[in-house]
């Protein structure tokens, strides 16, 4: 009969597998070699935080994996607010003014549009569909914009439109994954995770990467969209709710005081530290850090997410109503989080998938509602950041995962009751605003129908490389060794920083 103590020791010995042994001894020998042969370089490289390898040094003290690190080069922006319009809004109803398409409204689509193309729903020969809304020119930059965005149009001179975005995915989930993680498959790290990994966060009482959802439905890509992939999971996005407890189960249960919670956490920490000492699994550190952050967050997160503290004038500006799960509330929360040093704030607003299969998906019905939901808060967010001087070092990104066809969707070859458009990965519009971005310009151009790019195509990875550049990184150097590859947000295909949009 073993005592519990010897039982524990036995378990520990058994847990030490052949793999652990080999890993430890391999690492040990390697360290010995590096320690002796590299000793003379150590002094020079350590202080500069620079390593001779092709990757930068992102190592941090195990107890503070989210510690702030300087970027590789002087950054233009220090935080990102990414407004992802899940479902892919139609660029032809918002930013792409195509008079020729209006002229050809209702005519059969030319055969060249269909050759070799795959569509989600279009079959047979669809009809061309003019924009459902009138366009006009606004701002000093004279941008064309539809009448659906009356608030946002006041800010066009602060916006840089990229009308030649290109993707190779035509279904929502993989396309969203591509936009958010640089890869259409599961298991890759999201932009926010990369940024948090690279820069850490200044405010250790809040997650550095926060995700807010609205529109009544999660994006198709699900939680993978803010996953840390192969990066340590401490860098994954934390989904917060815009009403009630910001993070579920964050508050102490009734009868549990903060000091009792503290001593409980101390005991758990101790055990976790022992486990980490024994096995050295970085996920254990993540666990410890998450517990600690949750404890600190109990105070600060609740305060940051509580928009009731904002004056009525601000609510009027955003159109926000405390207690709702709305895009307006989330935009206001985004500004509050940005003020509190959160590095990457990711919003998703679902409902842009305007196929025309029902009223909610109709370009002349549901789409107009979506526009109303996002127009005022987006404009308010830009105005708020601008008047505080924060737009200087914040990057705001707005866009979906692909574009929509200039052809009217004809599901099963039939004319549908409502008006809609199918998915078009060939061209879509994303806009940027903020530090380091040239304001009041349009980059790229599509053909007369808004169907294909004719000038300056921008791949998703080019957008990512540009975003990382604005944050102070060469996208090649922000990498992480995994499965024998130095993994990057921009993946393995060559990516180009879109210098034309840089201020």
């Amino acid at each position: 009969m073993m005592t519990s103590d010897s039982e524990l020791r036995m378990a520990l010995v058994q847990a030490q597998t052949r793999r652990h042994f080999l890993r430890t001894i391999g690492g040990g020998l390697g360290t010995l070699f590096v320690g002796t042969s590299m000793a003379k370089y150590a002094g020079a490289t350590k202080d500069a935080g620079h390593s001779e390898t092709s990757s930068l040094d992102f190592t941090r003290d195990a107890s503070s994996p989210l510690a702030a690190l300087p970027p590789q080069f002087a950054a233009k922006v220090r935080r990102v607010i990414y407004l992802h319009m899940a479902g892919a809004p139609s660029q032809l109803e918002l930013f792409e003014y195509k008079p020729d398409l209006k002229r050809l409204d209702g005519q059969d689509c030319p055969a060249s549009f269909l050759a070799g193309k795959r569509f989600a729903f279009i079959s047979g020969v669809p009809k061309l569909l003019a924009s459902q809304y009138p366009f006009h020119q606004v701002g000093q930059s004279g941008q064309w914009i539809s009448d659906r965005l009356p608030y946002l149009e006041k800010h066009v001179d602060a916006i840089c439109f990229i009308k030649s975005m290109h993707t190779d995915q035509f279904n929502h989930a993989p396309a969203q994954l591509l936009v958010q993680t640089g890869n259409a498959r599961l298991g890759y790290a999201s932009i926010g995770s990369w940024v948090l990994y690279g820069l850490g966060t200044e405010n250790q009482n809040l997650p550095g990467f926060i995700v807010l959802l609205s529109g009544g439905k999660s994006p198709d890509g699900g939680k993978q969209l803010w996953s840390s992939g192969f990066l340590p999971s401490v860098y994954q996005g934390v989904q917060c709710r815009s009403h009630g407890e910001p993070v579920l189960y964050l508050d102490n249960p009734p009868e549990v005081s903060r000091s009792l919670r503290r001593s409980m956490l101390d005991a758990i920490d101790q055990i976790n530290q022992q486990t980490y000492a024994a096995f050295g699994n970085p996920e254990t550190v993540t666990r410890i850090a998450q517990y600690e952050m949750a404890f600190r967050m109990q105070m600060d997160a609740t305060d940051a997410m509580d928009i009731r503290k904002e004056p009525d004038s601000v609510h009027a500006m955003y159109g926000s109503k405390p207690g709702e799960a709305s895009f307006a509330n989330n935009c206001l929360v985004a500004r509050r989080l940005a003020e509190r040093g959160v590095r990457f704030i990711q919003l998703y607003h679902w409902g842009w998938d305007s196929h025309g299969a029902d009223a909610k998906e109709a370009l002349n019905l549901g789409f107009a509602d979506r526009c109303r939901e996002v127009d005022q808060p987006t404009a308010a967010l830009l105005a708020d950041l601008k008047e505080r001087g924060m737009l200087e070092d914040t990057l705001v990104v707005w866009g979906g995962e692909f574009g929509r066809t200039p052809m009217r969707e004809n599901r099963n070859g039939q004319e549908m009751k409502y008006v809609g458009r199918d998915h078009n990965p060939g061209a879509f519009t994303i806009w940027l605003s903020g530090g380091g971005v040239k304001p009041g310009i349009t980059h790229g151009q599509t053909d007369e129908m808004g169907y294909e790019i004719v000038k300056d195509p921008v791949e998703i990875r080019d957008l990512h490389a540009t975003m990382l550049y604005l944050l102070g990184f060469d996208h090649h150097k922000l990498n992480y060794s995994f499965q024998g590859l130095e993994q990057k947000l921009t993946s393995v295909k060559p990516a180009r920083i879109v210098t034309e949009v840089l201020a």
Binding site: A44, T45, D47, A48, G49, H50, L56, S64, A67, A68, L69, P70, P71, Q72, F73, A74, A75, H166, D168, G200, T201, E202, N203, Q204, E339, R340, G341, K386, E387, R388, G389, E392, D393, V454, K455, D456, P457, E459, Y469, G472, D474, K477, K493, P494, A495, R496, I497, T499, E500
Partner: protein, 488 residues
């Protein structure tokens, strides 16, 4: 040591050993011939020494007949004694140069007939040197003397020929004749095609519109210094000759022209040119090339012959690509040295909010707003040793007051300064007159009044003054220096 049953002498024994590397290079050339693909950093790094190393054996080989001929005179007969040694050196040098040349050719993306000739010239030269060396070592047999002289003469011819091919590879095919005077050129019967194009470049569509595009976007890899895929676009002749896969331009057949196909592909495509994330040709440039090929791809077509060609932009809109410099760790450490001890100490007190601006910078960013009301005048005072290193400071929502005015004014290199929702007043702002680097100042939500404007107006670099929710009314008339800089 015995070879073919005969006991061989000292130099011959060395010679047999020297044959081994020559044979190795020969095998490498046969098994791994250069194929025009760029690869392997190391091989290319080593290979780049080929042009450097190659001149050594050239000089030595040319020296041998000089020594031999000069030594015929009995007064300088001693010179002949060194010829054998020089030959030995030349053999080794030629072998090393051939080895480096193979590295360069295989990994540097070279290929084509020029290269093949140069390559076989080089390896043959090493072999001929070896042969001369061996023959000379046994030149006491008279019948071998003639053979030696012949081999040496062959070696000299080979040096000239291989060297010329090498020059053509690196400097261009007509590098010797390019600037030959017209009279001499005429009497020697050498055509001057490439010069003709450049002299009439402004008049022809090719010279005025097409070649400049190649020069701007393609020459780096397919021009005078590099001929990847054995394709050169720096003369009309070589352009029309094409590359390793044959012609790249088929006159009047746009779709059949590989050059057009590649520049018109989507940029992510494997065959797309320019490669490796280099900026694609602009749509206007693609159009010009398309129209030119469609019109027959001639080099005599007048510049204005194609009516609907996109207008040539007055100044080519070159978009600078981002070049990331390397961070020099030693220089960075040096720049940071003075303030480093103070910073290390203060970073313990203010973790995560006091950091270098970048990995290569000694400038500091301070974000005290994260601490909010927990950061006050006394905390700010502690930062004084770093005052001149801080270039961005955010004090929003902190408890600082006008008592910190001097401490902030001492941060002379500030570019960005934020006081949102603090209790600072005009007093602090009036003390900022010396901040001649300040570009952005935010006093949003503070009790600042128009009395601060004269000082603010004098800040030479200020671009934005964020004065919302202060006592400064919207639409106030401001000093000229502040026009367009006030943001509400």
């Amino acid at each position: 040591m015995t070879v073919w049953g005969r006991r061989v002498s000292g130099p011959l024994r060395l010679g047999v050993l020297a044959l081994v590397p020559i044979l190795i290079v020969l095998v490498l050339l046969l098994v791994f011939p250069p194929d025009g693909n760029e690869r392997a950093e190391w091989a290319q790094f080593i290979g780049r020494f080929h042009p450097l190393a190659v001149h050594f054996p050239i000089a030595l080989i040319l020296l041998v007949p000089i020594l031999e001929l000069a030594g015929l005179n009995s007064r300088s007969a001693h010179l002949r004694l060194s010829a054998g040694f020089v030959l030995g050196l030349a053999t080794i040098g030629a072998t090393v140069a051939a080895m480096l040349g193979w590295c360069l050719a295989l990994s540097g993306g070279y290929s084509g007939p020029l290269l093949t000739q140069h390559m076989w010239g080089g390896i043959s030269l090493a072999a001929v040197c070896w042969l001369c060396w061996m023959l000379r070592a046994s030149a006491n047999e008279p019948r071998l003397g003639l053979l030696y002289a012949t081999a040496l003469a062959t070696g000299v011819v080979l040096v000239a020929w291989t060297g010329y091919r090498g020059g053509q590879l690196s400097k261009g095919e007509d590098h010797l004749t390019e600037y030959m005077p017209a009279g001499l050129r005429h009497s020697l019967g050498i055509s001057n095609a490439s010069r003709a194009v450049s002299s009439s470049r402004a008049n022809t569509f090719y010279g005025a519109r097409v070649e400049p595009i190649f020069a701007e976007r393609c020459f780096t890899c397919h021009g005078p210094s590099k001929h990847q895929a054995n394709l050169r676009l720096d003369s009309y002749k070589s352009l029309m000759r094409g590359g390793k896969d044959g012609p790249v331009i088929r006159a009047a057949n746009v779709q059949g022209s590989d050059l057009f196909r590649r520049i018109a592909l989507p940029p992510g495509h494997d065959d797309f040119m320019p490669k490796e994330g280099k900026r694609p040709l602009s749509s206007d440039q693609v159009k010009v090339i398309e129209l030119w090929i469609g019109a027959g791809a001639s080099d005599t077509l007048p510049a204005d012959a194609i009516k609907d060609a996109p207008a040539a932009s007055a100044s080519p809109t070159l978009v600078a690509e981002v070049n990331f410099g390397e961070i020099d760790p030693v220089a960075v450490t040096k720049r940071r040295a003075t303030a480093a001890p103070a910073l290390a100490q203060l970073q313990k007190r203010f973790p995560n909010i006091l950091e270098y601006e970048s990995r290569g910078s000694a400038d500091l960013l301070l974000n005290a707003s994260i601490l909010g009301p927990k950061f006050g005048d006394s905390d700010l005072a502690v930062l004084s040793p770093l005052a001149e290193q801080i270039t961005v400071a955010d004090f929003s929502r902190t408890a600082i007051t006008d008592r910190s005015a001097t401490a902030i004014a001492a941060m002379k290199r500030l570019r960005v300064l934020r006081f949102m929702y603090t209790r600072i007043t005009d007093t602090t702002l009036q003390g900022l007159g010396a901040l001649d680097q300040l570009e952005s100042l935010s006093v949003f939500g503070t009790p600042v009044t128009p009395a601060a404007l004269p000082t603010v107006a004098k800040l030479p670099k200020l671009a934005h003054f964020y004065a919302g929710q202060t006592a400064i009314p919207i639409g106030i008339s401001v000093p000229d220096a502040l026009m367009g800089k006030l943001v509400f």
